[in-house]
């Protein structure tokens, strides 16, 4: 279970755009998972179940706190560029631009994008996990992917 931590944290960071918020989400996810472990069905994937919990906590918080504007860590120490290798710097800038773009996508598109592309979950498992039809998964995903493609093509390389 502990082995899932880094990936849950990556997913939470991708959703929320803030490491602090991500860590908070992961902590709550573990608390809920452990207190509801009897609800986890043997034979199903534990990681999917935990992604689902994290996602529902995230959605509840968004609803509860929709006055709060999304805060992004702009002074995140992890984002500091190590060394002065120009190519590395360039790559970081592109990745940062991609992250910023993803954080501006609608939450439901971002969630599916992160699960499929970053976390490697199959379309079918995403559809089960979020309880939405597979057609909705594919159309939201395609919208997000096309938007990112157009964005990346625009960024001068």
């Amino acid at each position: 279970m502990i082995g899932l931590l880094p990936r849950l944290r990556r997913f939470a960071y991708g959703l929320s755009g803030s490491l602090d918020e991500a860590d908070d989400l992961v902590q709550s996810t573990f608390e809920r998972a452990l207190s509801h472990i009897d609800q986890w069905q043997a034979g199903t994937r534990l990681d999917s179940w935990m992604y689902r919990i994290l996602h529902s906590i995230r959605i509840n918080r968004l609803h509860a706190d929709n006055l709060r504007t999304k805060k992004l860590d702009d002074s995140d120490p992890d984002e500091q560029i190590g060394g002065d290798n120009a190519r590395e710097m360039e790559a970081k800038l592109t990745l940062e631009a991609v992250r910023q773009f993803i954080w501006k996508l609608p939450e439901e598109q971002r969630t599916i994008l992160l699960l499929v592309v970053v976390e490697g979950v199959s379309y079918k498992d995403v559809s089960d996990m979020l309880c939405i039809p597979i057609g909705t998964v594919t159309s939201r995903l395609a919208r997000a992917r096309l938007a990112i493609k157009d964005f990346v093509e625009m960024v001068p390389s």
Partner: protein, 224 residues
Amino acid sequence: MNSIDDITLVAYVDGELDPATCAEIEALLAKNQDLRGKVRSLRESTALVRSAFNHVLYSPMPDFDTGREGVVVPLIASGSAGKHRQRVRNWWPRALPLAASLAALVVGASLGHHFTERGFDRELRNAGFSLSSKDESAIQNALIQGLEKELSGTRVAWTNPDTGHGGEIVPIRTFRLEDGQYCREFVDVRNVAGSTYDQGGIACRRTDGVWKVRVRYLPENGGV
């Protein structure tokens, strides 16, 4: 097929399509340069998205309160707890990049990732079990159906009432080797006498339509 909608094209880039649809798209790509450009752009931007959040994996983690010491939950649990050892396994490496070449995987796998050719059978034998030929052919049928016909993530179950053994094959990603062969990753889960054994593999489809398992590997021991 004369044109491809964006949804199908994205599914193609994700390796989510069955080989037949893949082949139709490949044929279309061969004669349409604009489409090829679009696929290339999609792949490039996808690769950026894939790596955009990875730094989080390596950044220092706070001390999470993960509850009771020693809580161990298997990633894929067997139905009965029993006294058989429960295994905690990490299936994460399944998220191979679409363009992963088989060669790269084999190298990666042999560098300590429990690469095994027939390790599954050995493991079962060590535990005192052997699969009957009827088990083997049920697995073979599930494998062929899963690889040939099913979308990735679909579970194809098999059971053998004679032995009480069962399991499932789950096809994962589809990709293409440089020589044009279609290959698919899959997970092979077997439930034998109350214990669950799982293994990953890659099978490739020969030009005569026969699927050959090219490699089998145990997942990394993650979890605890």
